[in-house]
């Protein structure tokens, strides 16, 4: 353990620590269970982590810019409810099934974007602390979904919708494709474009950013909006998966998993530093841990304990490296 720790401290800072941790975890899991490395099991892990992983991609931008978004889970439920309503509504109105599904997806994207924008505007123009804004909207989105569904669930009337959710082009689950595609796109934006640079600048010292003629408000607003869009994507995928939306169950604790993925991935909670691929690794790490605990038969009630320890451990190691 000590050897592993000191090894972790020597590898190049933010960049590879998360990868190394995941590699070690994978080896340990493979030793503990012969089933772990089976293709089907690995695909399963990837699928499971995709939903919160996609949200965590957006969360990376928010946290790096110096903020936080607690509302993502409730927002996913809210957006999902809207999407199913649009799906069923347009389907029943006689639209072709494909068009209805497209409408639902568009609705989810748009609604997610709008919700994120609302969070961002409250933070930047309203000058309210991100924690408070999103704590508020977290309650608000959940309550609206409960109200719409009367605390029950919305079932989709389209079977195509559900089929898409379990589709696996080239044998790889659709959500995994989307996770990797979005991660690649956002990693590029984060690492190579002006906007990515500005996000880090704003998060590391917003006053310096202001004096450097950077539009601080727009930069932060964009981070929340991107996160909203990611919630839209994730929400559609998970609704497809179950072909329904449970207003009280969908997205519960997603905010915690997303934030945990970002932090395990090496992003600094105080802003300014982080990587998108680190977040993907963080999300997969959480998935691997769950999977391993299931396979060795540890009570699901204890899994939270392990997750908690991993989060604290990740931050502890970051501290040591500074």
């Amino acid at each position: 353990m000590n050897a592993a720790l000191s090894f972790l401290q020597r590898v190049d800072k933010e960049r590879y620590a998360a990868f190394v941790a995941l590699a070690i975890l994978t080896v340990v899991s493979a030793l503990l269970s012969p089933f772990f490395l089976q293709w089907q099991n690995l695909l399963n892990i990837i699928r499971q982590v995709s939903y919160t992983g996609i949200i965590a991609l957006g969360m990376t931008f928010v946290i790096v810019s110096g903020g936080i978004d607690l509302s993502v889970g409730s927002m996913a439920a809210f957006v999902g409810c809207l999407a199913i309503l649009v799906l069923n509504g347009s389907f029943e109105a006689g639209w072709p099934e494909g068009t209805a599904v497209a409408a639902a997806v568009a609705c989810a994207m748009f609604a997610g974007l709008a919700c994120g924008l609302a969070n961002g505007l409250l933070v930047t123009k309203g000058k309210i602390a991100p924690f408070i804004v999103t704590l508020g909207t977290m309650a608000l989105f959940r309550s609206l979904s409960l109200y719409m569904a009367n605390a029950g669930e919305f079932r989709s009337a389209s079977s195509l919708f559900g089929e898409l959710g379990s589709s696996a082009p080239l044998g790889i689950p659709l959500p995994a494709f989307i996770l990797v595609g979005l991660a690649a796109a956002l990693a590029f934006i984060f690492g190579r474009t002006r906007y990515g640079r500005y996000t880090r600048a704003v998060g590391s010292n917003s006053r310096v950013a202001l004096y450097s003629a950077i539009d601080v408000d727009t930069t932060r607003l964009a981070a929340y909006t991107v996160t909203g869009a990611m919630v839209g994507v994730s929400s559609v995928l998970i609704s497809m998966r179950f072909n329904s939306v449970g207003s009280s169950t969908l997205g519960v604790n997603y905010e915690l998993d997303a934030i945990a993925a970002v932090i395990i991935g090496g992003t600094s909670m105080s802003g300014g530093r982080g990587t998108v691929w680190g977040t993907v690794v963080g999300a997969i790490t959480l998935g691997v841990i769950n999977n391993m605990l299931n396979m060795v038969g540890i009570s699901p009630y204890l899994q939270g304990t392990v997750k908690g320890l991993v989060i604290i451990g990740a931050v502890f190691i970051q501290r040591q490296r500074q």
Partner: protein
Amino acid sequence: MTPPLFRVRRLRKEFAGNAVLRDVDAEIRRGEILGLIGENGAGKSTFMKILSGIYEPTSGTLELEGRPIAFDSPSDARRAGVSIVPQEFNLAKDLSVEENVFLGAELLKLRRVLDRTGMRVRTAQLLAELGANVSPQDRIEGLSAAQKQLVEVCKALAFDASLLILDEPTTMLTRREIDRLFALMRSLKARGMALVYVSHKLAEVKAICDRVMVLKDGELVREAPIAEIEPPEMARCMVGRELREIFPPKRKAVGPVVLEVRGLSSPGAFTDVSFTVREGEILGFAGLVGAGRTQIAEALMGLRPSSGVVRVGGKEARARDAKQAVRQGFGYLSEDRQGSGILTGFGIAENMTLVSLRDYASLPFVIDRDKEVAKARTWRDRFGIKASNLAAPLESLSGGNQQKVFLAKTLDPGPRVVMVDEPTRGVDVAAKQEIYRFLAELAAKGAAVVLISSELEEIIGMCDRVVVMREGRIVGELEGNHVEEREIMYMATGLRTGANA
């Protein structure tokens, strides 16, 4: 003979294998002010950080009154009687001045309860001794950089130390505050305290120190009693070559007016300010700390609300925000390098292009890294920035080198109106010369330069015309031969007013 207060033997410090201090032997004596000078990155701050327990030496020993000692932490060093005014401010910005002054060493009564009155009284007393125009209850957040510097000094003085280290404590201060500080240092010395004074202001070193040590590339290259060494000789030891004529020749600007400011006011900061700067001109702004010079620059940069008329090249140019100001051709080097200037976690190249990033985008948004690094390299060579590589985070650079990066960042967009506020803060003589030349060159190429400085020597050496401010108003303007120290000080302190051209 009693041993010296501190003795270091073969002190060595390496960062990731790079030796920054190479086997330094030195002693620090009671009742003496030791001057420590050297180029940017010579290792002065590193040395002082070891003495004050911030860094651990790689090898070598420390002796306190003849006994070996090792500090595990700054508080450890503090208990042993070492107090430091660090080069970079280290204040909690949400706390008040008095809370900062006694942070970690609060005065107590009845053992557990904070002695608030005691701390307030003591802080007020120290502030008054330094002539600081600050109240103990002010929050750090709202203070100017010079005021923060004075608070740092108070913090170091607040408890009884046997060694007081001052790492470039006067970079932001004007003559009056410096005189007070020096008086205070002399009285501490008379009481038997040992003091170390690190500075690039060699005339001040000559005035206040009893002995001088020169560091070059981490080695002690010269040590002499003050009587035996003059500032030119100090400079020569530091940079290893002869330095003549720090200031480039002055030119009288005859070009058209580039910047015109008429009746500019900003509530609570300055009132009814009018001035012009011509093409090719370097206009000086003199005044005491708090006279409102910085605020004018901030207003022109769109960083604080203002009313009045601002024109650049005849066109209306009062900016709403910094982005607009940059587009209109303004460039601003703020006085507060850490607070509003550089990102300490960012690399050198990333810092330099922060304002001008638009110019490095190949596709509309994608940054062309090669172009960025190439440009950063030219800046590094131009200003002689000492750093292992261009991706090194700024926190690993010495203070003076950080300042050079900041200057490059400000100038990279190629502004038409360049406003520099304490541009040579903490840079060594050789780099100062280079920066002055560069500013003069910029002006010669047609920029209008506004130089705000508390170093009168700098203003007098660089400017053909000087505006003097007091309490938020312009109280006079000097030109040509009238630009000299006494005149400026008379106006700045209110002993005389009026134009004198």
